[in-house]
């Protein structure tokens, strides 16, 4: 029998400190990327260009801030009733009320019976009385996880198949093209709903489903760029020197498409975060108990028809989402300009 549909990735066989491990691994990955980048000439040049781009730096800082908040929400420590995140610990001074209340109000939102609140809430409270600011901050984790986990799925898949298709051509190329044409032709909704219904709802399974539908774009992009790279003399030279396929792929081709991967990752991330809102509306979003901006925005539809008007949840979630996506978009542009100043963005 299936277990209850919580995220199966975090349910049966993984103890509670796996998320901490994930954060650690993430930090390691970033360090690795930086170290690797330092070694490459191209990356050093790009970094210098980036330093001069004020707007890009600001965007980068904002994105990093979101990353920190998300990490704080991911790192858990055990308590006697289960586990709790560091962010929850930091914000534990904020109590939960009984129901809606306006930002900075002292009484609950009710025309007939406004009970006094336990504390003032900066951005008000939601339907269950939870502080809006807390929920919005906590939801950062869902957005980052969806972006991050999905990227972990679609980037390796897309890059691998794209590069292999470009390098080997022939039947490998045909198979890869067949695969991605077929998957692209199946409506995304159907794939998402089907996969989520079979695997159960959760951030992990959402990432798998979105990854399966999303690798197509990456594969196409990498394949195109790799094909162009293949025309360059250094590939023929490497082959003539008798270097193994694996070496050529990892030492020559991969580093030369890496910048595209990074840019697409950053821009794709913002697209995924935006998509989460629509997925919540369709009913295939984050599961209950996991705060997410998409769920807050979806719930705000009925809030706008309330009387008195409840607008603060929509405002908070939209603003947070907007800031993250905006900073990612600007960062992506800055990166593109840094790697290729002639590109017009």
């Amino acid at each position: 029998m299936t277990t209850s549909s919580q995220d199966w990735l975090t349910q049966s066989f993984l103890p509670i400190w796996l998320p901490n491990l994930a954060v650690l691994l993430g930090a390691l990955l970033v360090a690795l990327l930086v170290w690797q980048g330092n070694r490459s000439e191209r990356w050093a040049v790009a970094w210098r260009r980036l330093r001069g781009d004020r707007l890009g730096q600001v965007a980068g800082a904002v994105a990093a801030l979101f990353l920190v908040v998300g990490a704080l929400e991911t790192v858990v420590y055990p308590t006697d009733t289960g586990s709790r995140t560091v962010l929850q610990l930091l914000l534990s001074g904020i109590p939960q009320e009984k129901g809606y209340s306006a930002p900075l109000a002292t009484n609950a939102l009710s025309v007939s019976d406004p009970k006094p609140l336990l504390k003032r809430h900066l951005l008000g409270t939601d339907a269950l009385g939870r502080d809006t600011l807390v929920q919005t901050l906590r939801a950062t984790r869902s957005a980052l996880w969806i972006g991050g986990l999905t990227s972990l799925v679609y980037i390796p898949l897309g890059v691998l198949l794209g590069i292999l298709a470009a390098y080997y051509r022939g039947w490998v190329d045909d198979v890869v093209q067949y695969l991605y044409s077929t998957i692209a032709a199946v409506p995304e909704i159907l794939m998402l709903v089907a996969i989520l219904m079979v695997l159960g709802k959760g951030l992990g399974t959402m990432a798998i489903a979105l990854g399966i539908t999303g690798w197509v774009g990456m594969a196409r992009l990498i394949r195109g760029e790799a094909l162009r790279q293949m025309e360059r003399p250094y590939v023929a030279a490497a082959k003539a020197l008798g270097q193994s396929d694996w070496r050529i792929l990892t030492r020559h081709l991969l580093p030369n498409v890496m910048h595209l991967i990074v840019i697409k990752f950053v821009l794709g991330f913002s697209g995924l975060v935006l998509a989460e809102a629509v997925l919540s509306y369709l009913g295939v979003g984050a599961p209950v108990g996991t705060p997410s901006w998409g769920a807050i925005i979806d719930a705000s539809r009925s809030e706008l028809s309330r009387d008195p008007l409840v607008w603060w949840n929509l405002a908070a979630a939209s603003t947070a989402l907007f800031l993250l996506v905006l900073s990612l978009n600007i960062l992506g542009d800055a990166l593109r300009r840094a790697f290729d100043p002639k590109s017009n963005s």
């Binding site: 067949y178 044409s181 077929t182 998957i183 692209a184 032709a185 199946v186 409506p187 909704i189 159907l190 794939m191 709903v193 089907a194 996969i195 219904m197 079979v198 913002s270 935006l274 809102a277 629509v278 509306y281 369709l282 925005i297 979806d298 705000s300 539809r301 706008l304 028809s305 929509l314 939209s318 989402l321 907007f322 996506v325 905006l326 978009n329 600007i330 542009d333 002639k342 590109s343 017009n344 963005s345």
Partner: protein, 324 residues
């Protein structure tokens, strides 16, 4: 050219077959035909009623390949459905029995009424704004415009729609909050708001895209030559940049054409426009496999048609590209 087209179309056949197989697998992985019948018939259905329902629609046959002795191997659900679709017989809805050709035909018009004006108006506006920005080449305006575009792009579509519907239909009472009617000029009042929202949500990305396109043209050698020859800025802009950028533009436009007919699920749901946008989604939830299958079939044909059109456009635009 003709042989190329033929080869491409032949290449599409295994893709469509693969798509239909995948759809079939996805759908029945989630629920068996019995489970589907039960959802449709409701909790009061007796097992006999379920069996009858399945029998009348052919769902009591084996799913993929018929391995029952004395029966032909090709008498399976999947194969008989594929044979039907190959003749473009879309069948009828499992739930209501309505012929699907009619369902799609009726839903196409409202979807097109929504997407085509939004597409055209959005195109004109974005191209116009992009041209304008490229022309004035004012660093400050450029910067502000870029920022504005990125900002517009960073708001989720849902927020535009929720906010737009709330403000314009609820608070200001300008347009109906919900509903649709094909009634001459009155149709417009149901479409103006969703069309406007559609345009606004896509404007940011489109302006950036076309601006990049035109700037790329502007950087070409022939432009510098023209300028050196003393041709005025305006003429340079329009005659050369626009015309040459037009080719890439057309390619992009043509590639999106087939998708116009599929409508916008979000807008149609929110505003109650009876188009094709939510046909697939409702069919997945009901569930109504016949509709899902026919939608995916048509959708994949449209998608592949779009690919084909893109290829043709590239070839036509750039004779250097050999269609091999």
């Amino acid at each position: 050219m003709f042989s190329y087209l033929l080869r491409r179309i032949l290449f599409f056949v295994p893709i469509v077959a693969g798509v239909m197989l995948l759809t079939f697998a996805l759908f029945f992985m989630v629920q068996s035909p019995e489970a589907m019948a039960r959802r449709v018939l409701g909790p009061k259905a007796t097992p006999k009623a379920v069996e009858l329902w399945l029998h009348n629609r052919g769902y009591d046959k084996p799913l993929l390949i018929n391995r029952i002795p004395e029966q032909p191997w090709y008498d399976s659900l999947f194969i008989s459905q594929m044979r039907r679709l190959a003749t473009f017989d879309l069948g009828s809805s499992d739930v209501t029995g309505r012929p699907l050709a009619e369902v799609f035909r009726q839903g196409a018009l409202p979807s097109l009424l929504l997407t085509v004006p939004a597409f055209l108006a959005g195109l004109v506006m974005s191209v116009g704004l992009a041209l304008y920005l490229v022309f004035i080449r004012n660093a400050v305006a450029d910067f502000i415009a870029s920022l504005l575009c990125v900002a517009l792009m960073s708001v989720p579509v849902m927020v535009y729609v929720i906010f737009g519907q709330y403000l314009v239909a609820q608070v200001f009472n300008y347009f109906p909050a919900f509903g649709f009617q094909l009634n001459g000029w009155s149709t417009a009042k149901f479409l103006l708001l969703p069309i406007a929202l559609m345009i606004v949500s896509g404007l940011g990305a489109d302006v950036r895209l076309f601006r990049a396109l035109f700037l790329e043209e502007l950087g070409q050698d022939y432009i510098r030559t023209a300028r050196a020859k003393g041709v005025s800025s305006a003429v340079v802009l329009l005659r050369h940049v626009f015309k040459n950028g037009l080719i890439n533009l057309i390619t992009l436009v043509v590639a999106s054409l087939p998708f116009l007919i599929m409508g916008s699920l979000l807008l149609e749901n929110f505003f109650g426009i009876p188009g094709l946008g939510n046909v697939l989604f409702t069919a997945i939830q009901l569930p109504d496999f016949a509709v899902v299958q026919a939608s995916v079939f048509l959708g994949s044909l449209l998608y592949l048609g779009g690919l084909l059109l893109t290829d043709i456009c590239y070839a036509w635009a750039d004779p250097r590209i050999r269609l091999h």
